[in-house]
Subunit: 152 residues, 2 copies
């Protein structure tokens, strides 16, 4: 067994490197953690969501989301509004300041993705996307019930 050829190892290494590359933007320049970054992007995309929606497939633990939301609120980047139809949950939305950050950070993040993908031809990029999807579906089957799902 050769670690350097082991798929999960290589995926971890690659994911770590890309995260590092990205962190130069959202962390060093905007002081965002990974969870905060994901929340900003999601709200930039969907306008109005609940905390639960921030981790669609259980990618983040709900406690992680909770704390990131608190931090973002404290910094004035997002606001919480009660959902009167179901007072257990709250609506989240970007403030103008939050949206400003989103609009500053998103293009740069996409540029990093671009630079990454520039190592591949368009055909390869397409193929890679397809393969990642297949593997992700398969991994979901093999992984223990993704985060929570069995909360109670």
């Amino acid at each position: 067994m050769i670690l350097e050829e082991f798929l999960p190892y290589r995926l971890n290494v690659l994911a770590g490197l890309t995260s590092s590359a990205l962190a130069q933007i959202y962390a060093e320049r905007f002081g965002l953690s990974i969870p905060a970054w994901r929340i900003i992007v999601t709200l930039g995309q969907y306008e109005l969501r609940t905390a639960r929606d921030m981790a669609p497939d259980g990618v983040m633990h709900k406690s992680t989301v909770s704390r990131a939301v608190s931090a973002l609120e404290k910094r004035g980047l997002i606001v919480r509004r009660p959902n009167l139809d179901d007072r257990r949950e709250e609506w989240l939305a970007l403030t103008p300041a939050g949206r400003a950050i989103y609009e500053a950070v998103a293009p740069e993040a996409l540029a990093v993705e671009e630079r990454l993908l520039s190592a591949l031809t368009p055909q390869e990029q397409q193929a890679f996307t397809v393969l990642i999807d297949k593997l992700t579906r398969q991994a979901r089957l093999l992984a223990p019930r993704s985060v929570e799902e069995d909360d109670a």
Copy 2:
């Protein structure tokens, strides 16, 4: 910008899922952390290495390696021997108990990899490997000097 289509995000999700799948083996069944697991595998492969060799491309921080080595030694899975030619570093090697774990865990880990890859055709597997390599090389260029490298 759509998070679910963002390459670094997808890589993180996939890496996380595969890690989870693997952790069912090395963590739940053998009580190994990721760093410990990597050390066991590396020593199973190379027989005799130093702590520094455990993180070839700076994938793990040296403090992480140091603590994992201590833990493995305490559990009697590896031994340290002084290198008399350079007393700053130490040789690491598996004990019989450590090798037993390696030999129990490696086939199962490979089986998980197998199940993962079974979602792809052999041609796709080959292609995926090549693409990962290309992206990893590129990511290394974009990421801030990998862990340490600039230690002093």
